[in-house]
């Protein structure tokens, strides 16, 4: 018992001594440290301030690591929200939406080893309801040599995956004719038309590369449109050189006369490298696309189709 108490006491003493020796003594906060004293003692000999670290300037500030964020792709939201875009069509087969009669799924092109289906002695075709078949499996009337079918997986760019629309070519039925007409009129492919940049007018024919509809506007029309946009047009009047700035915009309206796009015209794009001019041009775009001013007072005869105009924004 006495021995145990002695050992315990010795251990405790050692621990206390170790703590005193090894652990750091915390400094006491000194409120006076908040004031950085620039001590002027010995003015002839420059000296370091007493508490240089307290003048915490860039030393504890500019450690800023900037990382550019990938731009989120905002879905364009027109003023009138369109229905959500359809999902991309599957590569093949292209589905025929709302056909009068649901077509049977087109059989995949038979592999070469199955071409005996078009063997020289085919059985007479049984009567069957009209259905779409691929052109490669059209049953000829006369025996023909086997036609090598294209390899199914690798479709060439010119591959025609669509079902034939002339599914009953020999039929004399009025209903079949109607069916054929419907099939021909149905748009079963996404539109392939793309923006066609200006290619210039007819030779000596008066057109221009930047063809606009301005010539169809009277002076009163232009004045009314300018007055309509003016309330949305603002500038930073203290920007250097702003008094001399002017920017041309190509502005596209939809059928209702609402501005859908605006961009700096070609003759002024060279100035966009100047960030101040760029800001000026951006505010011009903002003005014409502002929802309060975006619906232009176009003459009624110019509604109903897209138009392009050129604007000039001056201070």
């Amino acid at each position: 018992m006495r021995r145990g108490a002695t050992v315990s006491g010795t251990i405790h003493v050692l621990i206390v001594l170790a703590a005193i020796i090894a652990l750091p003594v915390p400094k006491l906060d000194n409120a006076a440290d908040d004031t950085v004293s620039v001590d002027f003692v010995g003015a002839s000999a420059p000296q370091q301030a007493n508490n240089p670290g307290k003048v915490a300037a860039p030393a504890n500030t500019p450690t800023v690591n900037a990382a550019h964020l990938a731009e989120k792709q905002p879905k364009p939201q027109p003023i009138v929200a369109p229905p959500p875009p359809p999902p991309p069509p599957p590569p093949a087969p292209i589905q025929q939406p709302t056909l009068p009669t649901p077509p049977a799924p087109a059989p995949p092109p038979p592999p070469p080893t199955e071409t005996p289906a078009v063997a020289p002695t085919p059985p007479p075709p049984p009567p069957q309801p009209p259905q779409k078949t691929t052109s490669t499996v059209v049953q000829p009337k006369l025996p023909l040599p086997p036609i090598p079918a294209p390899p199914a997986p690798a479709q060439s760019p010119t591959h025609q995956p669509n079902l034939t629309k002339n599914s009953a070519a020999m039929s004399q039925s009025v209903l079949a004719t109607l069916e054929k007409l419907r099939a021909l009129q149905k748009q079963d492919q996404p539109p392939t038309a793309q923006y066609n940049p200006d290619q210039g007018g007819a030779p000596n024919g008066g057109g221009s590369k930047n063809s606009t509809s301005n010539s169809r506007l009277s002076g009163a029309d232009r004045g009314a449109i300018g007055a309509h946009v003016r309330p949305c047009w603002s500038i930073d009047a203290e920007a250097p050189g702003v008094a001399t700035f002017q920017v041309h915009l190509l502005v596209t309206t939809d059928a209702s006369g609402t501005v859908r796009a605006a961009q700096v015209a070609a003759q002024d794009q060279g100035q966009l490298g100047d960030p101040i001019f760029n800001a000026y041009a951006s505010r011009a775009v903002d003005a014409v696309m502002d929802y309060r001013c975006a619906t232009l007072p176009l003459p009624p005869t110019m509604l109903g189709q897209a138009q392009t105009f050129i604007f000039l924004f001056t201070p």
Partner: protein
């Protein structure tokens, strides 16, 4: 000639020269719209549709509170948002939209619901979040959106310490400013000034520095010796100032990054206002010579003194043009105090001030297009700007005593101090105003304040 007798000069000069109550001088040229007269440009397809008569209007901008990445409220995010909003509003070129008008749920999958913002009239939107990354580190992510053009303009993330949250807010404000205005901002900057405390009969004047908006105030001297005329080096975080010890003025440099101070020298009983050259390698100051004062140029080490003017008159408060080729200063060589311009090496000065009253304390804008000044006369004291050739003078602010102009780093805003009499002597406050004469605001300081000097951008 301010600051020669710092304890009483300003007030006495006001009493001697100012006359009665300050009369408001209407501002000149405060055009709300800059009119242009360009004719529509004819095209092959007819004349362009001309839009002119633009308003000089601030950009409406929405700054919803930064949250944490999960969308939960964040205290520090809220504070950062407030600083950003204050910065942008301070500039006068943005108009933060009242958050109370925001439509709930106006972000969808990280992308703005454009209609909800455009209906508020917002042209720009700042969104972001703040993540505590542990170890005292913050990750701040922000995006700037153009509401009208429905696109992201900028997206940047910053990582820094918790202590730097104000600095990050200022930096984001500067990024937004530059993207939308086309010029660098000025929010990430500081102001040095003279703190004036104690009784009128024995004021304690200390050198102090703070963020441009008044935050993070620090006193650099303890007041045992009188500090005067702080001037920031335009190229780095270094101050020049005058300190009176035993009634002997000495010029010092103080480096805010290292805390080192350096004696430039003692140049006579009257040494006024050291001013840096644009490259920061030369100092201009006024020193007494006989019955007058000459403008001299010295190196930061105090050597190579060159007199740029004679001392037959009082020549004081020089300021370099931003290209370093010219110096504007104040002289009474024509009988009373007026502004003159001379070459950087001296030479024949040319007078540029010809308005009523007297002119002093010129400060050349970092943009080079304007010179700020103090003018006094029968209309009282006023702060104004003119073009370097003396044309286009316009008064920005008036008061009992207003002086000590300093430009912010991009030259868009002027800070000065406004002194008004009070029951206990005087009240002296720092004030900012746009160079268009709008958006005058007080800057909070813990004591009376004077002689501000705006730093260059910290970053």
């Amino acid at each position: 000639m301010p600051l020669i007798r710092p304890s009483s000069f300003n007030l006495s000069r006001r009493l001697i020269l100012g006359g009665g109550a300050a009369a408001l001088v209407p501002g000149l040229g405060h055009a709300q719209s800059a009119l242009g007269g360009a004719a529509p440009a004819p095209t092959d397809n007819g004349p362009a549709i001309a839009v002119s008569g633009a308003q000089n209007a601030p950009i409406p901008i929405a700054v919803p509170v930064f949250t944490d990445p999960s969308g939960a409220p964040s205290d520090i995010g809220g504070q950062m948002t407030q600083v950003m909003s204050d910065d942008l509003g301070h500039s006068g070129v943005f108009r933060p939209i009242d958050p109370a008008s925001f439509v709930p749920n106006s972000m969808a999958n990280g992308v703005p619901v454009w209609a909800n913002w455009s209906i508020l009239g917002a042209q720009a939107l700042i969104t972001g979040d703040v993540a505590d990354q542990g170890g005292g580190q913050l990750r701040v992510e922000f995006r700037l959106w153009s509401i009208t053009q429905q696109k992201q303009v900028q997206g940047t993330a910053y990582t820094t310490t918790h202590a730097n949250w104000r600095r990050i807010s200022h930096i984001i404000g500067d990024v937004v400013y530059e993207q939308m205005i086309g010029e660098k901002g000025y929010f990430d900057s500081r102001v040095a000034y003279i703190s004036d405390a104690g009784p009128v009969t024995s004021p304690v004047r200390r050198l102090a520095v703070m963020d441009y908006d008044g935050a993070n105030n620090q006193f650099l001297t303890d007041g045992s010796s009188m500090a005067l005329s702080p001037q920031f080096n335009p190229t780095r975080q270094q101050l020049a100032f005058v300190s009176f010890q035993n009634n002997s003025p000495r010029v010092y440099l103080f480096d805010l990054q290292s805390g080192r101070q350096q004696l430039v020298g003692s140049f006579g009983d009257l040494t006024i206002g050291p001013k840096f050259s644009p490259d920061g390698n030369t100092l201009l100051m006024s020193v007494s010579r006989g019955g007058g004062a000459a403008i001299v140029q010295v190196s930061p080490g105090g050597g190579g003194m060159t007199e740029l003017t004679d001392s037959n008159s009082i020549n004081v408060t020089p300021s370099f043009s931003p290209d370093g080729s010219q110096i504007v200063f104040n002289s009474d060589r024509d009988g009373n105090q007026q502004l003159f311009i001379m070459g950087a090496g001296g030479g024949s000065p040319k007078r540029i001030s010809f308005g009523d009253g007297q002119y002093a304390e010129p400060a050349w804008s970092p943009r080079g297009d304007l010179i700020a000044f103090t003018r006094w006369g029968s209309g009282g004291f006023s702060i104004g700007v003119m073009q370097p050739d003396g044309s286009g003078e316009r008064i920005l602010s008036t008061g009992f005593l207003v002086e000590g102009s300093t430009f912010c780093p991009n030259g868009r805003v002027i800070m000065f101090y406004r002194q008004t009499p009070s029951s206990y002597g005087h009240d002296s406050r720092l004030v900012t105003i746009g160079i268009d004469g709008f958006n005058e605001r007080l800057t909070d300081t813990p004591t009376n304040a004077s002689d501000p000097s705006w730093s260059p951008l910290l970053a």
